[in-house]
Amino acid sequence: MHLQMIEIKNISKSYSEIKALDNIALHIEEGKLFGLIGPDGAGKTTLFRILTTLLIPDRGTATLMNLDTVTDYKKIRRQIGYMPGRFSLYSDLSVQENLEFFAQVFNTTIESNFEMIRDIYVLLEPFKKRKARDLSGGMKQKLALCCALIHKPKILFLDEPTFGVDPVSRKEFWDNLKKLQKTDNITTVVSTPYMDEAALCDEVALIQKGKILAVDTPGNISKKFSHKLFEVKTNNNYKTLLFLRKMDRIHSAFMFGNSIHLTLNNANEVTGLTTELTANNFEFSIKNIEPNIEDTFMELMQKE
């Protein structure tokens, strides 16, 4: 049985008129890599700030390691690592200086916790004299991660660490996270607007407009998809899509890379669909596929 590291009970938070979080409940077990998946403005950052003791919720409570985020904030602050959204390092300090500073802020040294950051640091080492502002996007993220890890936190909060970063750097970043989880058993909460990254988490919560749409393992999330999903590939996807949208039997049709994902009001109508497409001279192939997280997210979004 895993230990509960984070317990969120019925948290709501509003900024004047806007409801940033609406009655959120979550629990996250020790050692899990937990993903908070949702677009900008979904409320991810607000939730992170509440968990990192920076904000007080209007309603509800949150505890980390059984410590309350409002009353025990001092104890919590010693044991968590936080990487805020976007770039949050001193751009006029070098890689080395940033690391040293954050180590000293937490009353430790780079050496004493070097094991923790070794894998990431070796990638940064060639640039250790370089100012943080001169690093590439991917390198900046790595440095920020090192800075958040330098005091060996029990829980790591990463707010959109891969935002605006190219696919290669993103992949490297996730590899690092996976490794950390394995070797140091850190509980990690990470938010991202990229749906494909959800598959890399142990558990994910889909969040949209301050509400949680679903919480589960990535595999199980896709099972919440309520229709049979078809993938259509054609020689002209856009034209096909426009045609499909006009058909009554189509429930939903979206572009997905070089194919179209569609659901029918009645899954048995697939033969009718093929006939109709053929009759209109479309060159196409159609097959039944498993929905992915993005499919599920979009369906849950539309139900809201």
Partner: protein
């Protein structure tokens, strides 16, 4: 065929650093051209040269029929630009924003009014002409920003990571707009970190360390690099 972008041996150096290293390519009218690359690969520098903001160190190029070095002022009337950062003025209403951008491009009042009406109808936004941009949801803003960037009917529109952080449905609605624009003959030049979006493009180019490492249709690239999707192509090329 009508070439909207013609670039030959374009190079830009900063000190000893070659940000863009001898790139050559063409983009046809009405094409959706995906411009990919890792952070720092030189995409932004290339776009700055193509939009006439930055002078190349060597090489030449024509965009919308105008030379990017000698005719940059004429060029600017023929292009549209939208980035993730560039947005509309939050403290102005939609109508005021459109009036401002229309004015920059020398559109007449009547034209602006006409196009505004058309645009709002197309985006199905309802009665929001006099709403402050600050009060409009994020997903809509991106779509509005795109429509404003194409308000003056440019030959080509440059989109720099236009959909970053946007929810998956809005992202697709955004791409509907891109397809519509391409259908009307506007060439679309787009950068993105979403590889599925790269796959929506007619042609894709991939920059690695200042050079164009690959260019072609999706099928060509997948075939050439023996990959199942663009994500794989990207990883293979960027790690060379």
């Amino acid at each position: 065929m009508n070439k909207v972008i013609e670039v030959e041996n374009l190079t830009r150096t900063f000190g000893h650093f070659k940000a863009v290293d001898n790139i050559s390519f063409n983009v046809e009218k009405g094409e959706i051209f995906g411009f990919l690359g890792a952070n720092g690969a030189g995409k932004t520098t290339a776009i700055k040269m193509l939009t006439g903001i930055l002078e190349p160190t060597s090489g030449k190029g024509k965009v919308a029929g105008f030379d990017i070095i000698t005719e940059r002022n004429k060029l600017k009337y023929k292009i549209g630009y939208m980035s993730q950062k560039f947005s509309l003025y939050e403290d102005l209403t939609l109508k005021e924003n459109i009036g401002f951008y229309g004015g920059i491009y020398g559109l007449r009042k009547r034209e602006i009014a006409e196009r505004t009406k058309k645009m709002i109808a197309r985006l199905q936004l309802g009665d929001i002409e006099n709403t402050l941009i600050a009060e409009i949801p994020l997903g809509w803003k991106q779509k509005i920003a795109f429509s404003v960037a194409t308000l003056h009917h440019p030959d080509i529109v440059f989109l720099d990571e236009p959909t970053s952080g946007v929810d998956p449905i809005t992202r697709r609605q955004f791409w509907d707009l891109i397809y519509q624009a391409a259908d009307e003959g506007i060439t679309v030049f787009v950068t993105t970190h979403y590889m599925d979006e790269a796959e929506y493009c007619d042609r894709i180019s991939m920059m690695v360390r200042g050079k164009i490492a690959a260019m072609g249709t999706l099928d060509e690239l997948l075939h050439k690099h023996a990959a199942k999707d663009m994500d794989e192509v990207f990883l293979k090329l960027a790690r060379q």
